[in-house]
Symmetry: C2
Subunit: 128 residues, 2 copies
Amino acid sequence: MTTQRRLLLEVFQKAQGPIDAKELYRQASARDQSVSWATVYRSLNLFKQLGLIDERRLTKARCSYEIKQSMEHMHLVCQCCGKIIDFENYLVRKLVELVRHEHHFNVTKVDLYLEGYCAKCDGEKEVH
Amino acid sequence: MTTQRRLLLEVFQKAQGPIDAKELYRQASARDQSVSWATVYRSLNLFKQLGLIDERRLTKARCSYEIKQSMEHMHLVCQCCGKIIDFENYLVRKLVELVRHEHHFNVTKVDLYLEGYCAKCDGEKEVH
DNA sequence: TTAAGTGCAAAGGCTTTGCAGCATA
DNA sequence: TATGCTGCAAAGCCTTTGCACTTAA
């Protein structure tokens, strides 16, 4: 456990939700200028391998990372205001069990991403 | 509508499930050597904009594309051999309805991604 | 004919890696 | 002290873009 890794983990713990490598680098190097891109990416791969963080493909350009969540965890992303709502439900587990049985597919990771309009933005859309 | 675009759409229609740009280029240029990477990517962006195809980041390295599917569509990605299995089930619709009601979230796009071991790779894992 | 599409090559982003020096245990 | 980690810089991929030429309508 090095100072760099400790620092990066702290940034993750402070973050509310997923962040990308760029943001991780930005926040970490703001607190310790010597932190390099190489260390950021090497640590991300390490944390991922250790199961400390999840890697998601939220945008085309780059991956997002966040402290590991439960399997029943979903993200609702508002395409209007960008708000991210975290959401958990037993139906996700049912879905996983279904896949396991119908396809003999041994699920290790679930990534559910729903895009649309949140209550607020959808309401405003109706008005116009 | 150019010959190149027609050819690329044909490759999509023949493909069983999502393919990435590399595979699209491979198959297209096998039938018409003059097809270039620039045209492949420019066409992908056009098709996406027209709503003909969906773009998903199924693997970390690159995006996958496929003819637009229903909302109940899911992807199972084998972390061992990389195979991508398409899968549909009514539970996805139930999930969407749940989100709609419980969070007043107006869902426009669903992206469900399950990672794990396919039947074949999981079987081989057991042996060792 | 002419606006739009194409190929080529170069550039742009994100991520990985070789290597020498440094720090943790 | 010895293994493992780091920073730097360069390289590796995937994707986009400028430019001159070609093609579909």
